[in-house]
Amino acid sequence: MKRVYPREERCINCHLCEVACIVEHSETKLPSAAYHVEGLRFNREDSRTICDPAEARTAGVPKPLNRTLVQTAGYLSLSTNCRHCEEPDCVLACKNGSLYVAEDGRVLVQEDKCVGCWMCVMACRYGAISRNPARSNVPAVAFNGINHHCDLCPEREVPACVWVCPTNALVFEDRDDQ
């Protein structure tokens, strides 16, 4: 299975992978809309969120967040995202079965089932899972947010982060090391 692998000796800490990820997982796939409009509740009375009525369809759409995260330590930096392990710890840790391994090998989440307990975040040895505070299925933990990790851009042949990387520090390839 093809996965996204970082090559830290090539990473220049530009964070364009995060930008591409956000735009790819946005409703409009337009950078300015993804950053400025989506995620803001459409409200004409609110002077802070003036958006064109034509863009009203984005109202209520959760703010897209990056599923890959550039981590830095000194001069080193690398983009970390889900490894899509063959035997994923997160799936074992998930207490209500919302995380699963799909037929094509991707580790996916059923977003309507996730209760935001973060056991997957605890279990992931790569630190590749974050939480999406814009979504919640359990009112009591409304601000905890649900599981949020790389889905390998199902609509694209090559994930957006790999496509955008200016130094090929991310590669999308089949390695047999797992």
Binding site: I12, E18, P31, S32, Y75, P166
Partner: protein, 515 residues
């Protein structure tokens, strides 16, 4: 002597005050315009700017610039994912004055600020006459047929080194460099340029079948595998020179002078001497690598002969020895002496040649154009009957394949390209090489900036450039009815001058256009 380093950035946040000690940064030269509608605050530009020009203000959730620090390297423009940035000139600048131009005034400010030598990078940027641009090339019409290089063979291979005087059987054979294209990569030392760039040069040289030059900084152990395509330099600092270094290379080059700064040695500031550079140069980490102005064992042609033959002995007469000089007055007589001292290759570096760091005043005012130097050296060596004893390489200011063709017709055997190679891998000619924080990762060893240039990318782009030039050179040769560069070498009848005085035409040894 104290060298001037750009002071630290103005404080990004907070009130700006007119610094009495920093008038150079008192007036911005460029303006970074940011389209606020397009800007998504991804902060890519903030992370990419190595000149402390761009910053993020969390209070206003906006990206702002300290325009005084902008050097117009255009990295932020290149990287911005929404094309929100464009760099323009700052306002009107100083009052229009052809005598006191912006650059002149700013240089005076800079020196009054610091009291030191103003350093700069890249090559001479002044408006001198370019003789390359005043020469035009001949083409075949009716009376002699032109050749179609796509359908007929065309010979671009250059043998660089000593040639036999006359044909004998068996022939006398001397060690020669065999370049598939008469274009070699200029001496650029590891330390002045990034390792990735030098590796890219080496990979491209191997791919195309030409040579790269290590400069005076030694040969990195990881580049030993490209030794067949390396010319190693022995400069006044003798950095990294060992028997292994000499015998691992295709040729040895004695550096007497550099076109950008004739008569002075190299300047590698201690900040650029990282662990890797120190290991390659065999000097302590963090120490300034300032090579002496002259080679202290060469005060005459006779001394030069000793070193040339010393190198030949060390390499057991299996490799050509080259001597590189800057183009200065009397270059023809100097070159004649060098050939008589036993050099197999003479490199003449014109005053437009680039540098990693040189005093601005020397870069801009010392030396002569390579075109006239080349013509004079070739003429002199022919007159003295010693032209076959050495090949002639022209360097400094070769920008295109047309320059190569014109230089060949003036008598050069091959060419060095340095700045053209840097531009090919992303250089925007912002002239900040001496500051060691090249935003394109070309002239820096800072570990956060160096990965911006990847060796494979550099090699591919350099290979493309050389292939493109090779096609163009073939086309131009065919157009003149020639099928090999040997037929063009020194064939000045193929050149005509436009807009030159008779003295200039005579110096170049060419005729006025129309004659």
């Amino acid at each position: 002597m104290e060298y001037y380093e750009e002071p630290n950035a103005r404080v990004a946040l907070g009130l700006r005050r007119p610094e009495p000690g920093d008038w150079y940064h008192g007036y911005p030269e460029y303006h970074v315009e940011r389209d606020d509608d397009k800007c998504i605050r991804c902060l890519v530009c903030v992370r990419q700017c190595p000149y402390d020009c761009t910053f993020y203000d969390p209070h206003r959730h906006g990206v702002y610039n300290v325009h005084e620090n902008c050097v117009n390297c255009r990295r932020c423009e290149f990287m911005c994912p929404t094309s929100a940035i464009r760099i323009t000139r700052w306002g009107a600048g100083f009052r229009d004055n052809d005598n006191w131009k912006q650059k002149t005034i700013r240089t005076v400010y800079k020196q009054a600020d610091s009291g030191a030598v103003s350093l700069t990078g890249l090559g001479n940027d002044r408006e001198y006459v370019s003789y390359f641009d005043r020469m035009v090339i001949d083409a075949s019409q009716v009376t002699n047929p032109s050749i179609d290089p796509l359908r007929e063979p065309m010979e671009l291979r250059a043998y660089i080194g000593k040639k036999p005087e006359r044909h004998t059987n068996p022939p006398e054979v001397y060690p020669n460099l065999k370049a598939e294209l008469p274009v070699l990569f200029a001496p650029m030392s590891f330390g002045a340029i990034a390792f990735n760039f030098q590796r890219g040069l080496a990979m491209a040289a191997k791919e195309v079948g030409t040579y790269f030059n290590t400069g005076e900084g030694g040969l990195h152990p990881d580049l030993r595998q490209y030794g067949d395509h390396a010319i190693v330099q022995i400069a006044s600092g003798r950095f990294g020179v060992s028997l292994d270094y000499l015998s691992n290379a295709a040729a040895c080059e004695i550096k007497i002078g550099q076109g950008a700064k004739p008569g002075i040695g190299g300047h590698l500031p201690g900040e650029k001497v990282t662990w890797d550079v120190s290991r390659t140069r065999m000097i302590p980490e963090g120490s300034d690598a300032l090579s002496p102005a002259p080679q202290h064992d060469i005060y005459s042609i006779e001394d030069l002969r000793l070193l040339i033959y010393g190198l030949k002995e060390a390499t057991e007469y299996t490799r050509p020895v080259s001597v590189k000089i800057a183009a200065v007055h009397n270059v023809a007589a100097i070159a004649s002496g060098i050939v008589r001292a036993g050099a197999d290759i003479v490199v003449v570096d014109g005053f437009r040649g680039g540098t990693g760091a040189a005093p601005t005043v020397i870069r801009d005012h010392v030396g002569i154009p390579v075109e006239v130097a080349l013509a004079q050296v070739d003429q002199r060596l022919r007159e003295e009957g010693i032209r076959h004893q050495a090949s002639l390489i022209a360097a400094g200011g070769i920008r295109s394949s047309a320059d190569v063709i014109k230089g060949l017709a003036l008598g050069a055997d091959a060419f060095y390209i340095g700045t053209a190679a840097m531009v090919a891998v992303g250089c925007t000619a912002c002239q900040q090489c001496h500051r060691g924080r090249c935003s394109w990762g070309i002239t820096t060893n800072r570990p956060d900036l160096a990965p911006r240039l990847q060796p494979e990318v550099a090699a591919e782009r350099l290979t493309n450039l050389l292939h493109g030039w090779a096609h163009e050179i073939k086309e131009m040769l065919g157009m003149m009815g020639l099928n090999s560069i040997e037929s063009l070498r020194g064939n000045r009848l193929k050149l005509r001058g436009v807009g030159m005085t008779q003295v200039e035409l005579d110096t170049l040894g060419i005729q006025q256009a129309g004659l």
